[in-house]
């Protein structure tokens, strides 16, 4: 009763302010994206402009937050009547979003053309429990980038095929005095560190979970962390990696301060852009290496999808926008920072031109993409793992102990 009265009162007071947006006949969509990595802000704005030009009755407000804020913003906006209609989500969140009813099930809207045309691996980004919660939009994995000039100066003929070889080559570069610390990673206490770790887990053939219980503390999961710690302690890895995010890695690589760097697709064309980069034309890219006897290449599934939120008042327009953003035409047009989800695009000269090296790496990398665990409690698991990685790197704890503790604190 009291609540009703307060609501009416406050409602009356603020009615003037709230009603204004509804006075227009057109539909306004609010969409949440992330700043940097994959499509740039400018690209997303340009794509959206193209959509609103084709659909003048729909207006789209864009919001960009850092990746670190994407999850919390999406969840917090759930409570607001005027929240987002379209949200970008990472491959690791559909389980949680589906369980907590953040996203709507769009299985019925996925057409046969979509099912046939999109790469099968991309669909795993948006599926949970056999249902579709959106369209894949960014098909991404971490590649091994290298500075061709530095490798040449060091007398290295070909980039490494195994992680062991990566260490050996870095050692040569260091010994020749070309760079003090040749390898750059994003090992900040953030999801970025989990992506690098997952790449290594896939190389060492580890498992995150077995029968729903943590298994990363054994076998490949442990070897992966040990590799990170060894590389850090050997001084071959830039020690500042432990506070880097992807953009810091890019900056270091573009400045010519790293011979090797693990990063997403977007770095390829950015590092070749003379506006920001000092290593234009020297950028090499290959799939992340493997481990002798276990794997040829390694890759993390870093894909992201676009979904319609459960609180959206315009789910149809929202879906129309998503369909446009993920269409083959749009994706081919902006294929410089993020590669399309559509299989046939990879043979389209308009897409591949000027980035043949990247496409070649993508064909191997995307096929090897390894998922992070699918669980509604992913945030807790990831937080526990981030702590384990940092504690091991900083020597506060052995990799074994750190991962065992993480397994205990993972909430699983």
């Amino acid at each position: 009763m009291l609540k009703t009265i307060t609501k009416t009162l406050v409602g009356a007071v603020f009615a003037g302010g709230l009603l204004v947006p509804h006075a227009f006949a057109e539909t306004t969509l609010n969409a949440l994206f992330m700043a940097q990595a994959a499509y740039s802000e400018a690209d997303v704005r340009a794509m959206t402009d193209a959509f609103t030009k084709a659909n003048p009755d729909v207006k789209v407000n864009l919001e960009f937050v850092p990746y670190e804020g994407l999850h919390d913003k999406t969840v917090l906006a759930q409570g607001s009547g005027g929240g987002y209609d379209v949200v970008l989500f990472d491959v690791i969140w559909p389980a949680e979003y589906a369980t907590n009813k953040v996203l709507v099930d769009v299985s019925s809207k996925i057409t046969d053309d979509m099912k046939k045309g999109v790469l099968p691996g991309a669909w795993t980004t948006v599926q949970y429990d056999g249902k579709y919660y959106g369209m894949p939009w960014i098909l991404d994995t971490k590649y091994l980038f290298y500075n061709k000039e530095i490798l040449e100066k060091a007398g290295i003929k070909a980039p490494p095929k195994t992680w062991e070889e990566l260490g050996a080559q870095a050692k040569i570069i260091q010994d020749k005095g070309l760079l003090k610390t040749p390898i750059a990673w994003s090992w900040s206490q953030a999801e970025a560190a989990i992506c690098d770790y997952t790449t290594l887990v896939s190389a060492y053939g580890g498992d995150f979970l077995k029968d729903g219980k943590p298994d990363f503390q054994n076998g490949g999961g442990l070897s992966a962390l040990k590799y990170m710690v060894d590389s850090y302690k050997s001084g071959l890895t830039n020690p500042n990696s432990k506070e880097f995010l992807e953009e810091d890695v890019r900056k270091v690589f573009e400045n010519g301060d790293a011979a090797f760097a693990l990063n997403w697709t977007y770095m390829y064309n950015m590092a070749n852009d003379p506006k920001d980069s000092k290593v234009v034309g020297k950028v090499g890219v290959v799939p992340a290496p493997g481990v002798t006897g276990i794997s040829d290449v390694s890759a993390v599934n870093g894909s992201m999808g676009l979904g319609v939120t459960a609180v959206s008042k315009h789910p149809d327009e929202a879906w129309k926008y998503i369909a446009f953003m993920t269409s083959q035409a749009t994706q081919n047009q902006y294929a410089k920072l993020s590669l399309p989800i559509w299989a046939s695009s990879y043979d389209d000269p308009a897409v591949t031109k000027g980035q043949e090296e990247l496409i070649a790496a993508a064909k191997l990398g995307l096929a090897a993409m390894y998922p992070r665990p699918t669980t509604p409690k992913y945030q807790e698991l990831s937080t526990a793992l981030q702590q384990a990685i940092q504690e091991s790197l900083l020597g506060q704890s052995s990799p074994e102990d750190a991962l065992n503790t993480a397994a205990k604190n993972s909430g699983l």
Binding site: F14, G17, N30, A35, Q36, A77
Partner: protein
Amino acid sequence: MERRSPAFTIFVYVCALLLAAIILAPIAWLFIMSISPAADLAAKPLRWWPQAADFSRYQTLLSTAENSAGAAFTSSLRNSLEIAGMATLAALALAIPAGWAVSRTPAIGWSLSMVIATYMLPPVALAVPLYMGLSHLGLLNNVFGLALVYLTILAPFTTWLMKSGFDSIPREIEAAAMIDGAGLFQTLRIITLPLAAPVMATSALFAVLLAWDEFFYALLFTSDQRAKTLTVAIADLAGGRVSDYGLIATAGVLAALPPVLIGLVMQRALISGLTSGGVKG
């Protein structure tokens, strides 16, 4: 003090220069970063002075072209202004009568003490119910909702300042006016409020500064251009996902400009407010 040895005088000047350097260096660097080309900021060794001043980032951030990075920034600037303005007005509207009442009727002073004691509450202790409440009222991601929440911080402070302001106005003046036949509200309007105008101005400035500075509630309760404030917009930029450090610095300069100008121009009023109790963290 009058008879200072030369050595002591030199010591004083050295210390003064040191203090000036400590205060100014970071602020100067913020401004230099905002006008340095990106390449200079990534140079090793670092280039401390730009080869050519580059003000284009200010243009970028202040442009209002639809769906641009500038539009996002200017809308957060507008939201910050609106929210700080509304919250300040509302806080004063509550604080002036309450401050006067407590000042003239010490018997109810304990109620103000209770209000002020809420300063100890960490915002995290209120955040979850406030979030749910705003959500229920449809006031999440809304400038009115955030202004309402800011009253939790602004109202106790302004009331306290107003109360000490009224304390310094002798009640005999009011009594005299009333004997002359003026009613209570007439007395307040003609005598007390004009005398309290400087305190009201100081309270308003503090309220604006506090609202401008707030981050935690804004981070939780706003999500996009409709209500997001400047502090959240800057934290988004600084989140490690923008590689042009100059752009981050430019946003910082623009956000710092209003409070810094207020601080410099209104210094005397602010310091008197500060010393009457040491406000704002």
